[in-house]
Symmetry: C2
Subunit: 448 residues, 2 copies
Amino acid sequence: MVQKWMIQDLKDRLAEQKQDALTEFLARYQPYDLAEMLIELEENEQIRFIAELPIALGAEILEYVDPELQYRILDRGTKETAALLLNEMSSDKVADLLLAIHPHQAATLSELLPADYREKISSLMQYPPESAGSLATVDYIAVRNYWTVEHTLQHVRKVGQDAEMVSYFYVLDNNGKLVGIVSLKQAILAKADSRLEDIMLKDFVSVSARMNQQEVATILSNYDLVALPVITDEQRMIGIITVDDLIDVIHEEATEDFQKMGGSQPLEVPYFKNSFWKLFRKRIGWLLILFVAEAYTGNVLRHFEDTLSEVIALAFFIPLLVGTGGNTGTQTVTTLVRALALGEVKPKNIFRVIRKEVSTGLILGLCMGVATFIRAQILGVGFDIGSVVAVTAIFIVIWASLIAAVLPLVLHKLRVDPAVVSGPFITTLVDGTGLIIYFSLAKLMLNL
Amino acid sequence: MVQKWMIQDLKDRLAEQKQDALTEFLARYQPYDLAEMLIELEENEQIRFIAELPIALGAEILEYVDPELQYRILDRGTKETAALLLNEMSSDKVADLLLAIHPHQAATLSELLPADYREKISSLMQYPPESAGSLATVDYIAVRNYWTVEHTLQHVRKVGQDAEMVSYFYVLDNNGKLVGIVSLKQAILAKADSRLEDIMLKDFVSVSARMNQQEVATILSNYDLVALPVITDEQRMIGIITVDDLIDVIHEEATEDFQKMGGSQPLEVPYFKNSFWKLFRKRIGWLLILFVAEAYTGNVLRHFEDTLSEVIALAFFIPLLVGTGGNTGTQTVTTLVRALALGEVKPKNIFRVIRKEVSTGLILGLCMGVATFIRAQILGVGFDIGSVVAVTAIFIVIWASLIAAVLPLVLHKLRVDPAVVSGPFITTLVDGTGLIIYFSLAKLMLNL
């Protein structure tokens, strides 16, 4: 964890302008920690800090910060440093940076890159956000099937410094098609004169550039891989996606689902980067939809106005009954939406899910029925009303379990994101329908 | 994706008992896919399938299935096959298996392992679940600081086949203390006669065996690593944690938080592995706590019984007003609990969070106030009651935003898991307090 005194120490050493003091400081920390410190410096200190660093370390640190800061540092420093840093950064990060800034600024920055590398990066930039292509880096090691292990390792010694990952070599044919993968482990364990075509893995896992990032993350975690090749429909190699980028995707997707389950649209950037106006826009939509859906509870209550004025005590239990139903529904729906996202539950399992949830709902309902009856007696509303609320509790809990089980699975089947059935959504749905159950039972059981 | 016809194909080939047909089949699929198929086979087919496979592949496939199935296969097959498979499986998976089965069964299985390996595994089994130690595997490559790169690579060629991961070598001193790390990439790029002490990384990231798995996952994702060494308090090397195991942890922790945010206790195993009785036990606790908390809404309503019977129309808006408050609170709380889990928001940011949430709540409240007023006019309850409900909407939304902003941060500060402030929790809290706001405003504004 980066502490205040570390940042102060760094500031002092930068002010002193002694290279030794800085070098000694750098040796003590990891690139990630240095990036965390960089963020806390003043702008002129940031520029000076990056300028003082070895290029490889500077580039690595830059990769940890967000594109705005990357751009500010590259733009304010000298052109030479910017060119060196940009060339050293991994190509997926450069593509992200160029996409995040103004096209004019991006054009100026791109000119610092050699023409062929610039072209590769602009091809990465074509892929839509959240696609496999957009996550790919071109800094992988390409090899040929007729190479020997010895030749390959010599090649790696030459180009390995620039590669994002040297754990795998990708065997391409004359047309740039990916025909096999050799791991560095295999190469080390094989004889020096073995040819790659004899040791390469031909049945490898790869992903299409158009595949959604969530699917890519699932494949990577299922198959326990640390990198995945990305290919075109014609099997042409585009680049690789590394596990560290996919861990970010896994976090991102879980965060999105979290926010959806809470009844807002997902935020695209970390919490504090959103203005209150942005937070407002992400939330007002669902609030209004839920408001309209909830509004008909007014009609329900007005419809039962006579029943209500006759037995005003029925009103006491409205929040308790619909609240309990909403809570049960929320429990079920969050469990199922997550299980669907992880692939633990599939739409075809709907009847198994219904059976499980309704059985659970039945015993939960019985417990809550007893609790409600006791509560009614404590409030002193008598045996009759107590019975009505107890029976209502049982029915509402089972009903909430049922719809919370059915809706996410049906939506998933219809290819609608099941996370739209949020906690607030199910609560709202149970509020209105629960009231109908309540007052219908009351009329029936109290002969009103 | 594994399809039904693939499983049928496998069953047919197993029945035919021709080794060629099986070998041809195996070449077409990844170990993970074969594991998915294994699960679908009959028990006698499972035993036969594993027995027919090369040991290394069999062990890899077994690592993908759950401990019960692992045990059943090891127990029913021959002792020789079981011993070979167990020795080939990675040590963290063996430790997990031995912990999951009955101690008697575990003792019998352990006897199949060589004594020194058995001892290493039983030391891994001491660490509590969810700790770094429990995730560690001892199948890493240990090296000495005076070795040359050439000697090291020779050593790797000898032992590399058994290692879980060959991307890093761990430099241990005479006492088993970890003093440095050399990556395979570094070794390949260095000169053959370089000594490891000259190229090894001395300031490496490591974790203590007692560290919680969530913290380990955060470190691994922040520092973009693919493996982390686990050490004792005395810097002694215990083993390594690999990125694939930590991806499982990341999924697990997000799932737990999901279920907590939905107001249940987290399930320890995938959805369908829980009996309905288990689901019931995970849910009833919070339901009853929330029931008790919600029950006082009855007291609030009885307290305002006179107001209510005088203006029965006030009852029409109860679900709408408390529902809207609950929805706003749920939106805020899910966003913040997730942001806290990712470290985007820290408890010290509390005033910044309050400012942001209350500003957002203010404009959300104004919008909902207008909506409520319009809804009241449509229901035809008159200007007076319309004004009461509109003003109440504004206050309830701001109030819900405020407590939903404060509670998770305060709990986090008090080292209580902020995810206990679930959607249902905040909804319940807003129900009761919202009613007090509503009826107090009604009495005040309508002079009741």
